[in-house]
């Protein structure tokens, strides 16, 4: 059967999972565009891994619909998962087997084509030289890379990586970032669950935020970072005098001192020039005037704490 091509590789509607009286995932609707690097964000225990486990058929959903590549799961999970590589939680292996033998074990379940991809997968993650060593001798970073090699045996159109950068040193994180970029460059979709928000911001184009089992935001990261407020950071030679000067400015709605100078909330970003002009006209030296760019981490904390406050 020819592979189905849909705009969104993952679509879920109203997915719910309960463990006894506790609802781990509630009415969860997620859309992951094909060919993207997608970050799945949430605090520990927010429901990220449970959602991934349901997508992969490792545990059953109590309600809702899930589709991968247009096919319903778990109904057509065998066909769907044939082109999905997944690393759920920490990558586990038979520690008494070598890296290559561990790949052989999984390739056996995937079929003859997967066995032919073992060498390429090892080469791709840089483990060819250690392929004949037992996994018990591998570092955490090497096990993570072997986990990715195991995913690649499927020649996946979708990779689901749950906290793939856990335990990696800065060099390993950089390698992983490059690998994700390479994989999406080949047209594959990489779905990364992580609590390393800075890494997701650097690696992914899209993200979804889950908090206490509920979806609180999703979309392009650039849109998630947009906010109605416009703030400016101002660094000048006399912050106190600048604060007094801006107090009566019609476009300034709030201002306060910071260790680096001033942070000023204004009605529109276009007023930056007139603020600069007023400060310079008053004889102040302005070293820096820049719009505040909110990080994904700040946005994430705002979003999740807001939801927490409502509950």
């Amino acid at each position: 059967m020819a592979p189905m091509t849909t705009a969104n590789i993952i679509e879920t509607r109203g997915v719910t999972k309960r463990f006894g009286a506790r609802t781990a995932v509630s009415d969860f609707s997620l859309t992951v565009p094909r060919g993207s690097a997608f970050g799945f964000l949430g605090h520990n225990g927010a429901g990220k891994t449970t959602m991934i486990r349901m997508l992969l058929g490792l545990t059953r959903a109590d309600a809702g619909e899930m589709r991968i590549s247009g096919r319903p799961v778990p109904q057509e999970r065998a066909a769907v998962l044939a082109r999905v590589g997944a690393m759920v939680e920490e990558p586990n292996f038979h520690r008494h087997l070598t890296g290559r033998e561990n790949l052989r074990v999984v390739a056996a379940a995937r079929g003859p084509a997967a066995a032919r991809r073992i060498d390429g997968a090892l080469r791709r993650v840089g483990l060819t030289d250690r392929a004949e060593d037992r996994v018990r001798t591998y570092s955490q970073g090497m096990r993570q890379r072997l986990g990715v090699a195991r995913c690649l045996l499927a020649d996946p159109e979708l990779l689901i990586l749950d906290e793939p950068m856990n335990g990696l040193d800065p060099g390993g994180i950089l390698e992983f970032r490059t690998m994700i970029a390479d994989l999406t460059g080949e047209g594959r979709t990489v779905f990364v669950s992580s609590h390393l928000l800075d890494e997701v911001e650097k690696t992914c184009e899209y993200a979804a935020v889950i908090d206490r089992g509920a979806m609180v935001a999703q979309g392009p990261i650039s849109e998630l970072l947009q906010d109605d407020r416009v703030e400016l950071d101002i660094d000048c030679d006399d912050a106190r005098a600048a604060l007094d000067l801006l107090d009566g400015h019609p476009a300034v709605t709030a201002a306060h001192e910071t260790p680096a100078g001033l942070r000023v909330t204004v009605t529109a970003s276009e007023v930056a020039a007139s603020i600069n002009s007023r400060l310079v006209s008053a004889g102040l030296s302005v070293f820096r005037l820049a719009p505040v760019r909110e990080s994904l981490e700040q946005r994430f904390l705002e979003i999740t704490s807001r939801v927490g406050g409502e509950s």
């Binding site: 490792l58 520690r95 087997l97 561990n102 999984v106 995937r110 079929g111």
Partner: protein, 255 residues
Amino acid sequence: MTVAMQMFSAEVLKLRRNRGLMAFTFLLTVGVVVLYFGYSALRHASNPSQYGAAGGLVDFQHAVRLLGMYFGGLAAILIGTEAGTADLASGVFRDLVTTGRSRLALFAFRAPAAAFVSIAFTTVAFALSVAATFQFADGLSTPTVGVILQSYGWMVLANAVLACLAVGVGSLTGSRGLTLTGVIGWQTIVSQLLLNAGSLGSVRDLLLPASLGQLAPMPAGIPFTVSTGAAIAVVVGWAAVPAAVGAWRTRAQDA
């Protein structure tokens, strides 16, 4: 290579690369036979008038029993337990499930692989036993080809059933310790106690040692007799029921 061959080969690989398990299995099979015949031969050589020859039919019968139901059986249980629990204990089961391969297929190759590996060891030990039986016979009667073949078939059956039983229980519990304690305890202690409890009457025929004893080509030292048909049904049950329960658990559990 077909998918089935690949999966069987992968299960065998997991077992044979476990050095500790292989070493212990070797001791329980080949090692035990070497010890048994070696000790008997030394004893006979040191005092032929008091100790009979180490070979011959009776010693062959003892060796077959050791390989089928005792030490060889123990090796089969160890290997079956490893096959039944390895994927769960290592955390790899989850990764195998995410390949999309059915869980029943993942389970289905565990028992054949466990039986294959344990029988490989007991086959070598059996061959040594046959050689020692003739080498050390010293004039005693020796088994015919028919008896040798029947004894081998019985030993293979006993090993396969015990491996299958351990795979089923291991897949059910997911715990090596629990499975080894349960299955070995049942086979070596509880079953033996029940076999000697006369008040249980024919209920004892449902025990695996009684049925295997009935199917043995030579008296297997079990003091009960069931019909051959019933014995076959009981032996099949001891393999099939734990396997079915293990398969159900493999299919139903969260990965």
